[in-house]
């Protein structure tokens, strides 16, 4: 109750200069300034979900990074394959789902892993299982959305894909370019430089510039941070600018806690020093975490829904109508929905009713003409 009273007073002060005349009569307030709080309350009750895909060669530190990002251990009993087993390996898709909670906010986090990517000797079209998986999720959502009962739609669409670029080369490799080009219109790609503790600061800068150049050269559309509004404060704008200049992020992950400078931090212990994962001067891990979780998670979901999914949907419908036009060669007044096979009967019924309607319409027209003539 107290909170509401406080809010009322705030609202009053806000609305003060504009409703001076109204104030003379009676203290009136509308109260819609509490909307943000209502949204907050409802969303906390509903809970959030987020699907994150990680892709990259094995040994790039993907699992370690995910564990560091979400401060859990998602990969408890993992079996790694030997080199000879990987000669002809195909890419698998493995999903791990965990429910985590922080200050009353529930998050259902799904990590989609792609073991085997880039590991075989012949890597032609090794991303096909991945694009198929993403398309499958889109198709599933499309079906659910067009269905009759839409109460409990599960959103399994992939919201973000972290792509791990090896730091041992001079820039992007052909497999990196091909993968990103195959996926950049289906999912938000965030390229990362993995295992950045083998690069000195100069080398990191050079590699980042090189990768950025190659991304522009090959026309790869990676995830772009939204422009911040002009009326945001300077500090936020500065942070945003720094973030944009820092891409691709050079990250280091760690599963172990070490003692550094009197504190216990996540890090890697070397004979020549300790790399702290959360130290901004050591790597961009903090920037990645802030961007991915603390500020842009919802934007990633929005872009997936508004851009990638809509593109998929439009393309799907176009294909369907063009196919149908070829099959039937007539315009059907009823928009054809992607109904699943159990509803084939209803489709038949609809078509029959359609034809009946047409016939009746023709008869009507005839009768009208006759009447016209008689008159």
């Amino acid at each position: 109750m107290d909170a509401i009273m406080l809010q009322e007073k705030l609202v009053e002060r806000l609305l003060c200069p504009r409703v001076r005349t109204a104030r003379q009569k009676e203290k009136q307030y509308v109260g819609f300034a509490t909307l943000p709080k209502q949204v907050h309350r409802k969303s906390v009750k509903k809970g959030f979900d987020f699907t994150l895909m990680v892709a990259g060669e094995s040994g790039m530190g993907k699992s370690t990074l995910i564990n560091s990002l979400f401060l859990t251990d998602l990969y408890k009993d993992r079996k790694l394959l030997n080199a000879e087993e990987r000669i002809n390996q195909t890419v698998e898709i493995i999903k791990h789902t965990v429910d985590i909670e922080e200050k009353g906010v529930k998050l259902k986090l799904t990590i989609v892993d792609t073991p085997g990517f880039g590991d075989a000797v012949n890597n032609n079209e090794c991303w096909k299982p991945i694009t198929d998986y993403i398309d499958q999720q889109f198709e599933q959502y499309f079906r659910d959305e067009s269905g009759l009962n839409r109460k409990n739609i599960q959103d399994n669409r992939v919201h973000c894909c972290l792509y791990f670029i090896p730091p041992f080369g001079h820039g992007l490799r052909p497999v990196d370019v091909e993968f990103m080009k195959a996926l950049h219109e289906k999912v938000n790609i965030i390229p990362l430089i993995a295992k950045a503790d083998c690069l000195t600061p100069n080398e990191i800068k050079k590699l980042k510039d090189r990768i950025q150049e190659e991304i522009d050269k090959f026309g790869i559309k990676v995830y772009q941070f939204p422009e911040c509004d002009s009326d945001e404060d300077e500090e936020f704008k500065q942070l945003d600018k720094e973030l944009k200049e820092c891409t691709p992020f050079a990250v280091i992950g760690s599963n172990t806690v070490v003692e550094a400078r009197g504190q216990r931090v996540r890090g890697r212990l070397y004979p020549w020093g300790i790399v702290e994962v959360e130290n901004q001067s050591h790597c961009d891990f903090v920037k990645l975490r802030n961007m991915l979780i603390r500020s842009h998670m919802h934007d990633l979901k929005d872009v997936t829904c508004d851009v990638h999914y809509e593109n998929y949907r439009a393309q799907c419908i176009q294909e369907m109508t063009s196919k149908l036009a070829q099959d039937n060669r007539m315009d059907s007044p009823v928009p054809i929905l992607p109904l699943s096979t159990p509803d084939v009967e209803t489709e038949k019924l609809i078509r029959m009713k359609d034809e009946e309607l047409k016939r009746m319409q023709e008869m009507l027209n005839k009768m009208q003409q006759q009447m016209h003539k008689d008159q």
């Binding site: 790694l80 030997n82 890597n123 032609n124 001079h170 000195t200 020549w272 130290n279």
Partner: protein, 427 residues
């Protein structure tokens, strides 16, 4: 074959004597050494590894020079090899070093044929040495030996295990060259991870039957060191040509925000071990192994392919000359046979052609005869017609003559008749 091999051959039937004083042939090794220094040494290293893994930097660090290598692009369509030769000198020892680097290794989408250019290069070097050896007038002591003596295979520090490409390539190369695997960019692996990684790599190599180079244990002076080093394989190295000041010295190192990795610090990486083993202790052994094991294997396979054997069909030892002579005879016989065959074929063809021509001639002849007959027939019939025509003509002219005569007679008769009439009229 070096002097040491001759000495090791078993001496059957020679007595062992002891010397009464100092003779002086213990200076033989020194003489050999002097000669070798005068000649100069040569060493060829092949570096295989992905683009950007640090091959050129490691070579620069190992030999303390700048070999001026430029960065390669990741978008090479095929694997290529680039060989560069340098002349180095340390105190009074001259070394002709050839460094062969792979370009574009591991970058292609389909890496099934990536090992082929490397195997082809190694075989080519063996082949040119074999050719030189088999020449009649040869100069082996002057020959620049380009055979690959050591192959440094750079393993990417993933921390888990070997890559599939690494396994496939090493399996193809282990019988052709001394492979020394190294873990590149080792400053990204912590000590505990490194230990596990090394064990995993060695076990994978063993379980797949890949034979990497083992440091020799037969020489007591270096056996102990070599045994320890064999246990540290593969070496985890860090290369750097930049110098950082530590204390009051300038050392080769890499400067990170969290510390400095010193290349020559044994706690930090195995660079010193690699340099020791590769250059200081076992360089000569690498050359010997290349010559006695890998080259001999190549030579044997090559000659067997050509059909040479060490023992003849009755299991008697056959020398190379005999086999060569036999082959030559065989070849000549074959040549003769071929020649005969060709000649026969030629003769046969000629006969056939002749027959054909004869047939044609005969046909033409008969045609000619036929035509001639036809001609004669025509002529005869024409003659006949002519005769008939002439007859007709003569008949016609006779008739005409007769008709004229008749006409003339009838005229006169008419005239007479008129006269008669006139005359009769009187009567």
């Amino acid at each position: 074959m070096s002097v040491s091999d001759v000495a090791r051959q078993p001496d059957n039937g020679s007595r062992h004597l002891s010397l009464a004083g100092h003779v002086g042939f213990d200076s033989l090794p020194d003489q050999l050494v002097n000669k070798s220094i005068f000649q100069g040494f040569c060493f060829n290293i092949l570096c295989i590894g992905e683009t950007g893994i640090g091959k050129s930097t490691l070579m620069d660090t190992l030999f303390n020079t700048n070999f001026e290598n430029f960065e390669s692009s990741h978008f090479e369509p095929q694997v290529k090899l680039r060989a560069q030769t340098y002349d180095l000198q340390e105190s009074n020892v001259r070394l002709r070093l050839t460094v062969v680097n792979t370009v574009g290794f591991g970058d292609q989408m389909n890496k099934e044929d990536s090992y082929q250019p490397v195997v082809d290069y190694i075989d080519k070097q063996f082949e040119s040495y074999l050719q030189e050896e088999l020449k009649i007038k040869r100069s082996l002591h002057n020959y620049h030996d380009s055979r690959v003596h050591a192959c440094l295979y750079f393993i990417s520090p993933s921390g888990h295990s070997l890559k599939s490409l690494d396994l496939v390539t090493m399996k193809k190369l282990d019988s052709k060259v001394n492979i020394i695997p190294v873990i590149a960019k080792a400053d990204t692996i912590s000590k505990s991870e490194l230990h596990k990684f090394k064990i995993k790599i060695m076990s994978e190599l063993v379980s797949n039957g890949v034979q990497i180079y083992q440091f020799p244990l037969d020489d007591e002076t270096v056996a102990k060191v070599n045994t320890t080093m064999n246990g540290h394989l593969p070496f985890a190295v860090v290369g750097s040509t930049e110098e950082v000041s530590i204390g009051n010295k300038m050392v080769k190192a890499r400067q990170y925000p969290w510390g400095v990795v010193q290349v020559e610090n044994e706690n930090h990486c195995d660079f010193v071990k690699l340099r020791e083993m590769l250059i200081c202790v076992n360089m000569e052994d690498l050359r010997e192994q290349t010559h006695t094991r890998h080259y001999e294997l190549y030579r044997r396979c090559k000659l067997e392919e050509m059909g040479f054997k060490d023992t003849g069909p009755e299991c008697k030892p056959v020398s190379l000359q005999q086999t060569y002579e036999a082959k030559r005879q065989e070849f000549l016989v074959e040549l003769q046979k071929r020649e005969d065959e060709m000649r026969q074929m030629f003769v046969q063809r000629v006969k056939e052609k002749e027959a054909e021509l004869k047939d044609a001639e005969r046909e033409l002849q008969s045609r000619f005869e036929q035509l001639k007959r036809l001609h004669a027939d025509e002529k005869a019939s024409l003659e006949e017609k002519k005769k008939l025509l002439e007859e007709d003509q003569s008949v016609f002219s006779k008739r005409r003559a007769a008709a004229q005569l008749l006409q003339a007679q009838s005229l006169t008769a008419n005239g007479k008749k008129d006269k008669d009439r006139k005359n009769s009229g009187f009567m």
